[in-house]
Symmetry: C2
Subunit: 419 residues, 2 copies
C-alpha cells in the first residue's frame, strides 16, 4: 500500500501545536463570554447562493462547491458571517435586542496554496445585532481589543475609518461610479500613486483629488486631530470622535483613525476598522470589521449590526512572532512499575492521580529503568514515580523530580502532598 498524503494546502496539527491553538481558542471564547456574547455554530456547508448574496458572483470560483442529493448547489463556507446572519434571519430575529453572538470555525478557500494561506483556515468572529450604531461599534471594537489583550498580544494597532467620510470625499471627485469603486479599492490598498493616475485619467477634480489623498494619507494622531477639528461641521467625523471617547472609557486609549480603511464589501454602512499585528510584516492584518446591514440581504428585516472576524491562523503566528508565552501542558507524573508485581499497584496510583486532576501516565512498554527515564524526559514528564520491590514491601513510592533530579521516598497514600 502506498502512503496517503493530506490534500494540498491543508495542514495536520500535532499535540503541541493543538495545545497552543486550543489555549488561544479558549481564551478568546472566555473573553467573549465576559462581554456577554453567546457562541453559535452553523453547518460547514451552505447553499452556494448564500455566499453569492454576500460576496457577489466572483466568489464562486473560490468555493469548494458540490451538489446535494437533491441536486441543490452547496459549498464549503469561505467565511462565517453569511452563515451566522442566515441563522439570525431564520431563528433569532424575534429575540430581544441586542443579539450578541460569536463563532469560531474552519473556512475553505479554493485557491492556489501560497505561503501562509491555506485552503482550510480558521476564523473567530463576533456580531452585535440590533443596537444603535455608536454603542455597538464601541462594544464590538472593545471586544476585539480585549481579546488580543487577554491573549497577551500587546503589539497591535487598530485603525478605524468611516465610509461616510471616505464616500463624501470620493463623491467630490465627480467621477463615474465604476471609477469610484476602483478608487475605493486603491485607497484601501494605500496605493496612492496608481490612485492619482486613475483619477487623472477620469478627469477628477484636481482640488478634490488632492484633498482625498491628503486625507487618506493621515496616520495615527494626525488623523485623530483632523477628526476633532472637523467634528463640529461633519457628522461622520463627529461620530468617530465620539467613538474614540467611548473606547477611552473602555480603557482603550490608543485607538487611531485611518480614513483610508474601505474594506472590500459593499454592505458596510458606516464605521469600518482593521487591526494589524506589525510583527507579521507584509501580511499584518489580523482582524477586519465594521457596521453593516446584512440581514435584509438574506431576506430578513433591516437591522443595525456591527461585526468582525479574526484570522485565527494569523493570530497564532503573531503570538509566536511576538514571543507570547502560550503555556504548554506537560505530563505531571510518569509511573514506572519495576517488575510484574508492581503493575497492579501502579494502575491504582495512576487512577487515583488522574481522579485528583493530575495528568499521569504509566510505562506500557515494559521498559527498563534507564530507557523509561529517557522516555519520560523525552515527553517532558515533570515527575517519575518508581515502584519496585522495596517500595511494594513498605507501601511507598520513590518520586523523582525530573527538573531538579531530586529523588525521595514517600508513603503511597501521600503522593499528592509530595508532588
Amino acid at each position: 500500500m502506498p502512503e496517503f498524503q493530506r490534500p494540498r494546502g491543508t495542514r495536520d496539527f500535532g499535540p503541541e501545536e493543538m495545545a497552543r491553538r486550543r489555549f488561544v481558542e479558549v481564551k478568546m471564547r472566555e473573553t467573549a463570554r465576559l462581554f456577554g456574547f453567546g457562541e453559535v455554530m452553523t453547518p460547514t456547508f451552505e447553499s452556494t447562493e448564500l455566499f453569492v448574496a454576500r460576496s457577489g458572483e466572483g466568489i464562486v470560483d473560490e468555493l469548494y462547491a458540490f451538489e446535494d442529493k437533491g441536486n441543490r448547489k452547496i459549498s464549503l463556507r469561505p467565511e462565517l458571517t453569511a452563515s451566522v446572519m442566515r441563522f439570525y434571519v431564520n431563528e433569532m430575529q424575534s429575540l430581544p435586542k441586542p443579539v450578541k453572538i460569536f463563532y469560531f470555525g474552519n473556512c475553505f478557500r479554493y485557491e492556489r496554496p501560497q505561503a501562509g494561506r491555506y485552503r482550510e483556515f480558521f476564523q473567530l468572529g463576533a456580531e452585535l445585532i440590533g443596537a444603535p450604531s455608536i454603542e455597538s461599534d464601541a462594544e464590538v471594537i472593545a471586544l476585539a481589543l480585549a481579546t488580543l489583550k487577554n491573549l497577551g498580544l500587546e503589539d497591535v494597532a487598530v485603525r478605524i475609518g468611516h465610509l461616510g467620510v471616505l464616500n463624501k470625499f470620493i463623491k467630490d471627485l465627480k467621477i463615474p461610479e465604476n471609477t469610484e469603486k476602483e478608487a475605493r479599492k486603491l485607497v484601501d490598498k494605500r496605493d496612492f500613486e496608481v490612485l492619482r493616475i486613475i483619477l487623472d485619467g477620469a478627469q477628477a477634480n484636481d482640488e478634490a483629488t488632492a484633498r482625498l489623498i491628503e486625507l487618506v494619507s493621515l496616520e495615527g494622531e494626525e488623523a485623530n486631530s483632523r477628526a476633532r477639528e472637523e467634528a463640529g461641521s461633519d457628522k461622520s467625523f463627529g461620530y468617530l470622535t465620539n467613538l474614540l471617547d467611548r473606547l477611552k472609557a473602555y480603557g482603550f486609549e490608543n485607538c487611531q483613525l485611518d480614513f483610508g480603511v474601505a474594506r472590500g464589501l459593499d454592505y458596510y454602512t458606516g464605521m469600518v476598522f482593521e487591526i494589524d499585528a506589525p510583527s507579521l510584516g507584509a501580511e499584518k492584518q489580523i482582524c477586519g470589521g465594521g457596521a453593516y446591514t446584512l440581514a435584509d440581504l438574506f431576506g430578513g428585516q433591516e437591522v443595525n449590526s456591527t461585526g468582525y472576524a479574526f484570522g485565527f491562523d494569523r493570530i497564532m503566528l503573531a503570538l509566536e512572532n511576538s514571543g507570547v508565552n502560550v503555556p504548554s501542558q506537560n505530563l505531571e507524573v510518569y509511573i514506572l512499575p519495576i517488575g510484574d508485581a508492581a503493575k497492579t499497584v501502579s494502575i491504582g496510583i495512576l487512577s487515583e492521580l488522574r481522579n485528583a486532576g493530575i495528568s499521569a501516565d504509566m510505562d506500557l512498554m515494559g521498559r527498563n529503568m534507564s530507557k523509561a527515564m529517557k522516555y519520560a524526559n523525552n515527553i517532558g514528564a515533570e515527575n517519575v514515580i518508581l515502584i519496585g520491590e522495596k517500595e511494594l514491601a513498605d507501601d511507598s513510592v520513590t518520586i523523582r523530580n525530573m527538573k531538579s533530579g531530586d529523588q525521595k521516598k514517600c508513603p503511597k497514600n501521600k503522593i499528592k502532598d509530595y508532588l
Copy 2:
C-alpha cells in the same frame, strides 16, 4: 430577497446549546489530557482513496465527494480514524512508543436525513499506538469510561468482546467465507433468529450452531463467568479475564463481556468493545472501538493499536435524557445607566468587571428601568447594577440581586466584594 435555509440534515446551534456542547467538549479534552493523550487535528477533507482503503468501496456512496483544482478526488471525512492514522503514518511513526493521541471533529455522511442522524455530526476519539495489546486495551477502555464518569454519565454499560473467541466459534460452523461474514453481521445485530435460518441454509454443523448461539447470547455476569471457566484452555478467553482484572485495578469493576460484539470493520484484530447509554432506547450505542492494525493499510509499518470513537451528538442526548446537569453560563452583571451622564461611568465599571473575570453587559438600547429589568431577567442576568443621578453624586451604585430581589447601595470601588 428570499430567506436562505440551511442545508437539509444539518443543524444550527444557538448560544445555550453551544455552551452545553463546549462544556462537554472541554471535559472530554481534560480527561484525555489527564490520561497523557495529546490532541491532533487533520483536514476536514482527504483523498477519497483514504476512506476507501479503510472502509471499502461501499463507502463512496455515502461520501460528500468533489474534485480538487488538480482533479484529485477528495471527500469530506465520514469518520476520523482514517485521517488520524494517515497523519500517524506520515509524521509520527518514528516517535517513541506508545503514541497516545485523541481528536474531536465534525464528520459528514451523505445519506437521507433521519431522526437523530445528521449529515454533519461530531466525533471524539482516541488511539493508542505501539504498546502491547493488553496494556493498550485496558488504558483505552479506561479512558473511555473515565470520560463518561467525569461527565457525570453514570448510566452506561460497556460490553467487551474478542474476535479471537468469536471467529473460533464461527470457524467451527464449517460454512463458506461469505456466509461467515453474514453470520458475523447477524451476531453483531443480535438477530439470532435470522442467524439460525442462514446457518441452517448453509448446512452449518448443528452442534457448532447451538454452541455459537449459546455463547453470543450470554449477557453480563454469565459471560464473565464463562470466560473465567475457559480462561485456562483458550488464550482469547484468558486475555479477556486479564483485561477485566486490569480494568478493576483502574477502578472499573462493572465491565462486562459480550462475545457477540463483532464491530463492522475488517481491520479489527482482537479485543472489540462498545458502550451503550440505555437512556437512548433503540439507538443506544455511544462508543465503539477495539484493537486493530491499520497503519499498514495506509502504507505504514504494522503496529498494534487500540482506539475508539464516541458519537458526540449521542452523548449530548444521553446527558440530557439522564438529567445530567451541564452548568449554564449566566451573565453575572447587567449594568443599567440611567441618563446620559451615567454612560461613561458605566462603561468604566463594565470594563473593570470584565477585566476581573466577571461576565458583564450594559444596556446599549437606552431602555427605561422597567424594560431593562425585563430584559435582564429574560437573558438570565444574576445581578443588575443601576447607576443614576443619586449614584453618580456619591460615587456609588445600586446592586439588585435578580434571584432574591434584594437591592443595596455600594461604593463604586467595592462592587466586586458586594457581588
